[in-house]
Amino acid sequence: MSEERAGTAASVPDSGEPMLGLREMELNFGPQHPSTHGVLRLVLKVDGERIVSARPDIGYLHRGTEKLFETETYPMVIPHTDRLDYVAAATNNHAYCLAVEKLLALEVPKKAQYIRVLLDELQRISSHLLWLATAAIDLGAITPFFYTFREREVILDLFEDYCGARLTLNCMRIGGLLEELPPGWIERVRAFTEVFDKNIDEYEDLLTENRIWKQRTIGIGILTGEQCIEWGVTGPPLRGAGVKWDIRRAIPYECYADLDFEIPVYPNADTYDRYLVRVAELRQSRRIVLQCCDWLAKNPEGEIRGKVPRVIKPVAGDVYAAVEAPKGELGFYLVSNGSNKPYRLRVRPPSFINLQALPEMAKGHLVADLVAIIGTIDIVLGEVDR
């Protein structure tokens, strides 16, 4: 318990002696701190401003989602998955649907696959834009926030047109999708990608070469490729550490094998390289979106939902399915006992596992760098705490 109270006034031992020997100060960073991206709490030991140790304390947003999953039938789980990583709902839906489809041995129609990938990539763009916005604000640059939100808004509008919601999409169904694309939607996506290309250049002009941005990010929060693998860190931090690994290529799902895109990799494993990875991924996601648009324009006909039984009762067994979410590998481990409800549905949350490496990354840096490091991991507390 004393650990839990560390950092509060009560934790300072009242020994009556002058505290001349005290070198380290405990600093409570969060849960109500402007740059902890939600309700993350870090208990820091600082020597001046240098961090001696950082101890994340999570769980402030724990909602028992995994317990809740067990009480819902398979289709009813989907809206709950929206609320894990609430800035990337489409990928959450996707990972869950993949898991159930695997256990049902369901074939998803090609058209549905392309639409799913299209939604995923739009979601990746929006999530990375949000990341860029908040990471820039963490480092003091307030304006990129508004520019990226301008584009994100367009994506949210597109989502609203497609599935009726902007954030918690609930846009996929087991075996495919619920709704057809609305007329004219593809053209609007195309128009967005055109504007978006120029806007990425704008963000880069603002940040990529800016000396302050570079000084603040280069060499900060280094987590090498080996360390990433050891800690299970996936997603942009892994690719920013020179490991060319992306589930979309490594274990292709849906139609990713047919699509032409690159996996951006940068070697230096620092905050700046992770920034570069994400910006390059914006461009690659845009490419994928365009390819999906082309395919869908050529093949307007087709089913969007496979042959799904009316009551979904997978066979007893367990299955794991993962997608490349914007934050890393998002997996769903589904244990079925043959009933119409998941017996156990475990989420492998990328944010949770990436956050675990934070103390390693933060050690020895300044408090100001800690803010950059929290930003660079790109956590969403809804997913960390579930």
Binding site: A9, M25, L27, N28, H33, P34, S35, E49, A136, I137, D138, L139, G140, A141, I142, T143, F145, F146, Y147, R150, D201, E204, D205, L206, L207, T208, E209, N210, I212, W213, Q215, R216, G242, K244, E262, P264, V265, Y266, P267, L276, V279, A280, R283, L366, V367, A368, D369, V371
Partner: protein, 385 residues
């Protein structure tokens, strides 16, 4: 009325009251202007509800802050906690006694006859020195406020500002020395008149000095990219984390008053103060129809805009980087600049003119070369990994 009484008591008192009121009001309005300008740079609307297009927003803010509960944290040093905002505010307003907003003139005041005075409190012959001395006092308020709050974040903010403000006093001082060398006067009025006499704004020979002064000035006023003592995303709000209500407003207003001070000094030293553009070109004399104070305010507002523009553009330095910038780059540069300007000033006005030509040709030439040669950096996929 007794002339001595008039010139030594009444007029200064009136000026003091007016300048305090005006500066405090303008600082308040500046908060609104900043929000609107920032909003425009960020493709949004900004406050537009109170009054015509939000014109009264600042009044609403001030009223709200005055009526807000004034919280003193438990275990805070309440006396010092109370004193700190005053320590910041008083020097921020005091310096307006020396800033010359316009040239001296003669006015007819009913009942008093002709009065010869200028739109400044007083013309002190060591005005620049006094100004640096007074502005330095403000940092005590910040440090004490941070310390007295009994909060770790506030303490860190206070410590940061102590180091930062003291460090940046040095390059600022050296930049001022360059201006003194050029004008051979310590009086602010004297500096403006020297620019008129030299047929030269000191921005031309003092390009480097101006750059150093303005950068240090941004740092002195705790503005982005040097807003480390406040550093919202790191230290919550820095030294004023534990302040609320009117005491917080006092901190806030002094920051804006300091911004105006820095801009006003930059105008006075380098941009010819109240002088119109090309003050010695005869055929432009129709510009004299605009009073000097307006020219002064125009120039000041340009600098204030640049302040806000900076805020809308840059990320924040880290603390050690800020120190490195100050001690390793700005201070050597400012000393070098003093030497450079000293030699030029030794030669007299022609020397300054030569220096101007050299500096500006180098600057413009460099930009021409760069704009042709620099390819735009885009994230390209790293090869071979």
């Amino acid at each position: 009325m007794n002339e001595a009484l008039l010139y030594n008591v009444v007029i200064p008192a009136v000026k003091a009251i007016v300048s305090v009121l005006v500066v405090a009001t303008v600082a308040g309005i500046l908060t609104l202007i900043e929000r609107r300008v920032l909003a425009r740079l960020q493709v949004r609307q900004g406050p537009n509800r109170v009054g015509w297009n939000g014109a009264l927003q600042w009044v609403a803010d001030v009223v709200k802050l005055i009526f807000k509960e004034d919280i003193v944290p438990a275990h805070a040093e309440s006396a010092i906690h109370f004193l700190a905002p005053i320590l910041v505010m008083v020097p921020a307003l005091t310096v307006y006694a020396f800033i010359p907003w316009g040239p001296e003139g003669t006015f007819r005041v009913p009942g008093l006859g002709m009065i010869r005075t200028g739109p400044y409190g007083t013309d002190v012959n060591v005005g620049l020195l006094l100004l640096v001395a007074i502005t330095s006092i403000g940092v005590y308020g910040i440090i004490l406020g941070g310390w007295a709050s009994n909060s770790k974040y506030a303490l860190m903010g206070g410590l940061r500002s102590a180091a930062q403000l003291i460090s940046y006093e040095v390059p600022m001082g050296f930049a001022l020395v360059a201006a003194i060398l050029m004008s051979r006067s310590l009086s602010l009025v004297g500096i403006v008149e020297a620019q008129k006499a030299a047929h030269l704004w000191f921005i031309f020979p003092g390009l480097l000095a101006f750059f150093l002064y303005f950068v240090s000035g941004v740092a002195e006023t705790n503005r982005i990219p040097f807003d480390l003592p406040e550093a919202e995303s790191e230290l919550v709000a820095g030294f004023h984390t534990e302040y609320s209500g009117f005491r917080w407003a006092v901190f806030f207003l002094s920051e804006y008053a300091n911004m105006i001070t820095i801009s006003a000094i930059a105008t006075t030293l380098f941009f010819g103060g109240w002088l119109r553009p090309f003050p010695n070109v005869a055929w432009l004399s129709f510009l004299d129809l605009v009073p000097g104070i307006v020219w002064f305010l125009l120039k000041v507002s340009v600098f204030l805009f640049v302040y806000i523009w900076f805020r809308g553009t840059f990320p924040r330095y880290r603390f050690d980087q800020l120190m490195a910038l100050g001690w390793k780059i700005l201070i050597p540069l400012s000393i070098g600049n003093v030497v450079l300007v000293a030699f030029a000033a030794l030669w007299g006005i022609p020397g300054l003119k030569v220096l101007s030509v050299v500096l500006w040709v180098a600057l413009v030439g460099g930009f021409v070369v760069l704009s042709r040669s620099t390819p735009k950096r885009r994230t390209v996929l790293a090869e071979g990994v």
